[in-house]
Amino acid sequence: MLKVANLSVAYGQHRALDKVAVEIAQGEIVTILGANGAGKSSLLKAIAGVVKTLPGKQVSLGTHDLSSLPAHEIVERGLALVPEGRGIFGDLTVKENLLLGANPKRARDGEDIRREKVLTLFPRLRERSAQIARTMSGGEQQMLAIGRALMSNPDILLLDEPSLGLSPIMVHELFATLRRVREAGVGLLLVEQNAQESLAIADRGYVLENGSIVDHDSAENLKTKPAILRAYLGGEPAQT
């Protein structure tokens, strides 16, 4: 269980996140809805330790306290981030990227088994093993980014706009894969522009507006709320 509380981020005078609290259990998909600039990416980066936070944040994963750890230590505790823009090593090969994914000590045991699982999940990566990562298509790079994160043996996976720049077919395929990742017992925190697809696979969702959580409910309920329909699903509430 990942528990985040009292998390605030400021860029200069601008308060990007204000005392945010979220929770994700293993084997659960939680999505964060929010407009551009609502602070969704900042939230994921702050949890992963990549951006500085204001004092007072509480982040814990199971029995580990992550509140004051640097990013590279947080990965060791079982929390992996797939950043927006993927963050793969473009000049290295697919194989090398996956090797680096298993760099955390917690990922060394059973590395070969895990690699086999990742390559089964993303068969394309097996074909492209020796290819330089940046020469692959956007969809393949996204697969590599997720595959690399899974190589670190995470309990919780944070995904920042994984569908960005992908064709509709690829998006569909990607979300089907995320479902299978959940079935393996990983908890997923998903930030998405594509609210339709993300609510379809999510168990729960948070709504982030101007740096604060304004709503939190099951995905089922969120889908039918008029405000959500209007703002994120591009529709009017059904007439009753």
């Binding site: 992963a48 330790g49 990549v50 640097p70 990013a71 590279h72 230590e73 990965v75 060791e76 992996a80 981030l81 950043p83 963050g87 793969i88 090593f89 473009g90 000049d91 290295l92 090398e96 090797l99 680096l100 994914g101 760099n103 955390p104 000590k105 690399r148 994160a149 670190s152």
Partner: protein, 289 residues
Amino acid sequence: MTNAILAGLMLGGMYALTAMGLTLQYGVARIMNLSYGEFLIAAAFASYWLFTGWALSPFLGLAFVVPLAFVASFIVYRVLLTPLVNRARNRDALEVDSILATFGLTFIIQGAMLSMFGGAYHSYSFLAFPVELLGTTIAANRLAALAVAVLLGAMLYLALTKTRIGTAIRAVAVDPSAAQLVAIDVPRISALTFALGGALVAAAGVLVSTFLTFNASSGVVFTMKALIIVVMGGVGNILGCLIAGLALGLSESLVATLVDPGLTLAVNFALFLAVLLIKPAGLFGRAAR
């Protein structure tokens, strides 16, 4: 002609070796180390001192000088450069800051060497006999130095491409912010890589000292040569370093034999300019995104 090509390859091999450490320091740790040549000369003096004072063969001297240089470079990074790293807003800012800091370091090391050894040129005689190779004669010490250089280069290349820590070092060079997401301790890897670069330049210094004369202020020549080779080959690229080093050595040697020895420096910079005009990111480099 064979003679010129052979001499050029030997020279180029040494150039490549002297530049390898800098390509690590600059490519991975993002430190533009202007005192690089001074580290090389300091190692050369250390080898001189071990050889003349303790009758220790330079090849055995490597076993002392190289680890010492590793530790010294690590300390320099941690004490002198880490504050700059923490302060720099981005990697470009760090580059500028590191140029200034290491420029200062140049004078400190030079001053120390001047006070210890004076300004006179030093050399010692080690394996100074001719060897017959492909119909020409070559000094044995140059050949031995080249052999060690090739060995070191091959080891470094294998370590960087075949091991997990080597791959991690390259990952830091490619994208330090993504590197932390795969549990790479970027400050630690940067410090270790800078130290590794220091160890390599010390090895180069010891090898060079077996066949070149040097004095306390010879360092700048090596810094310049190494810098040209690193930029020509593509920053952080070991293979590029080798090719650029060989190209430089060959062109110098050929021009010196066929045209005029006075033109070697000119051909150096002509080649450098040509590469920069055609491929600004270096032979194996890639333009910044």
